[in-house]
């Protein structure tokens, strides 16, 4: 799919920029493309164990160039309840990483902590560190709006705005100051989400009139229209029938390489079909209560073909329980 090539052609340098707002004012209607050349500007307020004594620029060197996310000793709590314990994971650029595991194992919690969507949960608390291109996602100076502008998300249930198909895609670019070539941008995003041919004649119709599968592809188009670096997909096909699911999986294949994709799925075949690497989470009893734990993270073929951990093997072969 050649249309996405230029859509996703983000100046990779901008990804090295700290996540704090720095007065570019791209929200305020400047239509200039975002080209940021700051590479080593120190990230204020870096906290967390590994780099606490180093400057942010130095801590860069410890991270292999292909890592987009580097989670270290991540534990997540909701109030007193611990949802996730001690997750270490490196998510590589341009790959599709699948998170699988039984319900309640913390895989969605982990996904939502990657772009701070969990911040709105009042009792949410995180320990350890998640670095994004070397910058602490939970650093004190980090702007969450900026985090989500670079790390987009598609949810389990399609959630289009009650607006026209065109306005759904155009809403975020307009509000981010990307007003030039809006028509082309919308078309590219819809083509990128393999939806263009189905909706090109009714862009002014309400998005709520689309089928569930079309709505979900619209949400993916909406997410890629602002050219994020990462796409987080939270069970994007779980509410869809097999045909619509197939369309979403084809779409993920076509987006691979342009975007770094992290997908949570209940469907193991889906993980096997779309993911380069797969992480298996499970509930492990520590002390008294079961807590979500990362059991194994490896190449997808290894996870499904020759898993190292017997728990992974039991799960992927259906002998779970």
């Amino acid at each position: 799919m050649t249309d996405i090539d230029d859509l996703a052609d983000i100046d990779r340098e901008e990804l090295e920029e700290p996540l704090a707002m720095n007065g570019r004012g791209h929200e305020e209607g400047s239509s200039a493309p975002r080209r940021i050349r700051l590479r080593t500007e120190p990230l204020p307020g870096v906290i967390g164990p590994p780099a606490a004594t180093e400057s942010a620029a130095e801590s860069h060197l410890h991270i292999a160039p292909e890592a987009v996310f580097e989670a270290q000793a991540v534990s997540i709590f909701y109030g007193k309840k611990q949802a996730l314990i001690d997750v270490d994971m490196r998510i590589r650029r341009g790959q599709v990483t699948a998170l699988i595991g039984p319900s309640g194992c913390g895989k969605t919690t982990f996904l939502r902590s990657l772009n701070r969507m969990n911040d709105s949960v009042p009792s949410f608390r995180i320990e350890g560190s998640i670095r994004y291109h070397g910058h602490d996602i939970y650093g004190s100076n980090v702007d969450t709006v900026e985090v989500r502008r670079r790390i987009g998300m598609v949810f389990q249930k399609p959630n289009p705005f009650p607006k026209s198909i065109f306005d759904n895609i155009a809403w975020a670019p307009r509000n981010l100051g990307m007003r030039q070539g809006l028509q082309e941008r919308v078309e590219k995003a819809l083509r990128g989400a393999a939806l263009w041919d189905e909706v090109k004649d009714r862009l002014k119709d309400s998005a709520l009139g689309l089928s569930g599968g079309q709505q979900q592809r619209l949400c993916i188009a909406r997410a890629i229209a602002i050219e994020p670096d990462v796409l987080l997909l939270d069970e994007p096909a779980s509410a869809l029938d097999p045909i619509a699911t197939g369309a979403i999986e084809d779409l993920i294949h076509s987006l691979k390489g342009r975007f770094t994709i992290v997908i949570v799925t209940h469907n193991m075949q889906q993980a096997a079909r779309v993911a380069d690497r797969t992480a298996f989470f499970s509930l492990e009893t520590r002390g008294e209560k079961p807590i979500g734990t990362l059991i194994e993270f490896d190449e997808t073929e290894k996870i499904f073909g020759s898993p190292r951990d017997p728990r992974t093997r039991d799960y992927v072969t259906g002998r779970f329980g």
């Binding site: 929200e27 709006v145 598609v154 949810f155 009650p162 809403w171």
Partner: protein
């Protein structure tokens, strides 16, 4: 009752006809009595409204005529209708931005710790007798030599309207599905922009409903206009809110105080006009709200 425990009182024959046995008859009776009381209370409420409306219509209908509606005093009440419209419109202009902003604060920005006290204050304000608001504005702006004026009455009405608009708007903002806020957040757009272009448009019909309901309430509030805008004779049309404006509640009061039966009939007539306006506003806003609820929860 434990299984295996033999209790001849509660033994039954599973093949007997399916009719009420044991104390089921008595329980049915209790249920019917409670149901009857509930229905009676509902009927009484409707009956009161019907009786009031019927009394107003039967007494006031003969006073209604084109002249009565359009002409100034003494034949008609035209200036009073216009004056009330001006005062209430002004009050709405003052109250609506405040009410909507308070609702936005409550539903989009405030944490649970600040939501509760603000809501409580709004509910207390909502129950505040209008005479207290009237006396407050009277003491602040009228009694100190400022004199009566339409805008001062509008201010008092606005104070009465703010909590109604705020709470009503808050309710409809709650109906905007959370997943739409999530969708907007996930696109890296600042919250105030999603408030302006996603959340407020979705809630707009409900906001208008809340405003219309508060307009209906304000149009009939008597105490503020009686204290703050009652000296206009109503024999000429006036729309200048810097002076006192003739208005409906004061005129109803004056007409009903008149010694002749004619005036009393006219008081009924003007009441009929007022009640018709309020019912129309109430029903219209209800219809609007139902429509927007259907749209939002689809």
């Amino acid at each position: 009752m434990r299984f295996g425990h033999h209790d001849p009182e509660h033994e039954f024959d599973p093949t007997a006809p399916l009719l009420a046995t044991g104390n089921l008859r008595r329980r049915h009776l209790t249920s019917r009595v409670i149901q009857g009381l509930a229905v009676a209370a509902a009927v009484a409420a409707v009956a009161v409204l019907v009786i009031v409306v019927w009394a107003v219509v039967s007494h006031g209908a003969k006073a209604i005529s084109w002249d009565f509606i359009t002409k100034p005093a003494p034949e008609g009440v035209g200036p009073n209708l216009v004056g009330t419209a001006v005062i209430v419109a002004l009050a709405t202009l003052m109250a609506m931005p405040f009410g909507v902003l308070i609702a936005l604060f409550l539903s989009e920005y405030a944490g649970p710790r600040s939501t509760r006290p603000v809501q409580l204050i709004l509910d207390v304000m909502n129950g505040l007798p209008s005479i207290i608001v009237a006396v407050f504005v009277f003491a602040l702006l009228v009694a100190n030599g400022g004199g009566q004026a339409g805008w001062k009455a509008a201010l008092a009405l606005a104070i009465i309207m703010v909590p109604l608009i705020a709470r009503g708007t808050q309710e409809v903002l709650r109906l905007v599905p959370g997943h739409q806020r999530e969708a907007a957040d996930a696109l890296g757009v600042a919250r105030w922009r999603s408030v302006l272009s996603i959340i407020l448009p979705a809630a707009l019909p409900g906001i208008i409903t809340a405003t219309l309901l508060s307009v209906a309430r304000a149009a009939g509030e008597t105490a503020p206009v009686l204290l703050i805008s009652s000296l206009a004779p109503g024999d000429a049309f006036s729309v200048n809110p810097l002076h006192e404006l003739p208005n409906v509640p004061v005129r109803i009061f004056q007409l009903s105080e008149e010694a002749n039966p004619e005036g009393f009939t006219e008081a009924w007539g003007l009441s009929l006009i007022l009640i018709a306006i309020i019912l129309a506003l109430g029903l219209g806003s209800r219809a609007l709200l139902n429509r927007s609820k259907r749209k939002m929860t689809r």
